[in-house]
């Protein structure tokens, strides 16, 4: 029983760390603001949640009211991260778009946003 639970905990934490690694690489290597925020927002949320679920599962080694309460609180944090983190990413992206930060495209390379607006005919 305990070894399976340990396996689940290790798996969740490891996959979470893997996604954190992807997030870090994404923030460092992606070409512009929007893609970097994309990596940060998605990877960060998923990996934080996976690691938190791992922690919650670890609490089930000795199931009692106290440990279940701790597990419940951790899951509550995971829910908060699930709501707050993507919203924060969206808000930062939106602010970047409003203040006309340029974007990168494979065809043209880095394009400043006045050119994007011209293409859209604004």
């Amino acid at each position: 029983m305990n070894i399976y639970l340990d396996a689940i905990v290790v798996l969740l934490t490891f996959v979470g760390l893997l996604f954190f690694h992807g997030t870090t690489v994404g923030i460092l290597r992606f070409p512009d603001f929007y893609t970097r925020m994309h990596a940060a927002g998605k990877g960060d949320t998923l990996s934080t949640m996976l690691i938190l679920f791992g922690f919650a599962a670890y609490q089930l080694h000795h199931p009692s009211t106290a440990t279940l309460l701790v597990a419940g609180k951790i899951i509550f944090i995971a829910v908060l991260v699930f709501i707050a983190s993507p919203t924060a990413t969206h808000a930062i992206m939106d602010a970047g778009y409003e203040s006309e930060i340029g974007a990168w495209s494979a065809k043209d390379g880095f394009v400043s946003s006045c050119l994007i607006r011209k293409e859209k005919g604004e």
Partner: protein, 249 residues
């Protein structure tokens, strides 16, 4: 006037620095704190106040006088910021560049804020009430409660928040918080004890003297939370809108 203020600050700073020389060195094993004070609080706070978290016991009971004036300092800070920034429109128009107008509200941010704000406020009350048993208390609970209003102001706008919690109410409640704290102290005086000697509340609350100290701590924490909540929001509203209370950021 500015020269006088600068001189005053410099003199006060020098006096404080000279006074700081006499403080015991950080981590000094011979200092009174390390020799007998800490161990006394650790050993006796539960039996004297029935509060398991002795940080709360020390903060709101043993040195309750100090915490009362900390609350008063926060109140004064809020009042000061308001006094400086809330000048008349005529004076402001000369030297303030116009702020960018924000177009509309973002439905995603608004929805998330609507989900999170009630949870935050509930959590703030939990932190406030659970200060006896875990890290927390009036200051922390108040900050979280104030932050929930600030989140609302960021997601919607300042007017929405100020229509729910009027500026006048805000300042009244922040004063009320200090009054609750000091009032509990004065109540103890009237009941025959020292200022902020909560054990005197036992006759009103119909509990033992030790439990009365625990309840007294909760009472002053509520006062602290009221002040901190309102001053947090007031500081944000004044600073974000440049004292005009219209749009914000």
């Amino acid at each position: 006037m500015k020269v006088i203020a600068a001189l005053f600050s410099i003199v006060l700073g020098v006096v404080l620095l000279v006074a700081a020389n006499d403080l015991p060195i950080w981590g000094d094993p011979e200092s009174p704190v390390s020799v007998h004070l800490s161990s006394y609080f650790i050993e006796h706070s539960v039996e004297q106040t029935s509060v398991p978290n002795f940080v709360t016991a020390v903060l709101a009971d043993y040195r309750g006088y100090d915490t009362m004036f900390e609350t008063a300092v926060i109140f004064c800070a809020g009042i000061t910021v308001m006094t400086i920034l809330r000048r008349s429109h005529r004076l402001r128009k000369k030297n303030v560049p116009p702020r960018p107008v924000r177009e509309g509200q973002d439905i995603i941010i608004c929805s998330a804020a609507r989900l999170i704000v009630p949870m935050m406020q509930l959590f703030a009350l939990y932190v406030l009430a659970h200060g006896h048993h875990s890290p927390g208390g009036g200051f922390q609970g108040g900050v979280i409660f104030g932050a929930s209003f600030i989140l609302l102001a960021l997601a919607y706008d300042l007017k929405t928040v100020l229509s729910r919690l009027k500026e006048k109410t805000m300042m009244l409640v922040s004063g009320l918080g200090v009054l609750v704290y000091a009032g509990i102290g004065v109540l103890c005086l009237f009941l025959g004890g020292n200022f902020l000697d909560y054990s005197r509340l036992a006759s009103i609350l119909q509990v033992t003297e030790i439990e009365a100290r625990s309840h007294g701590i909760l009472g002053v924490e509520v006062g602290v939370a009221l002040t901190v909540t309102c001053i947090m929001l007031s500081l944000y509203a004044d600073l974000a809108s440049g004292g005009e209370m219209d749009e914000g950021l």
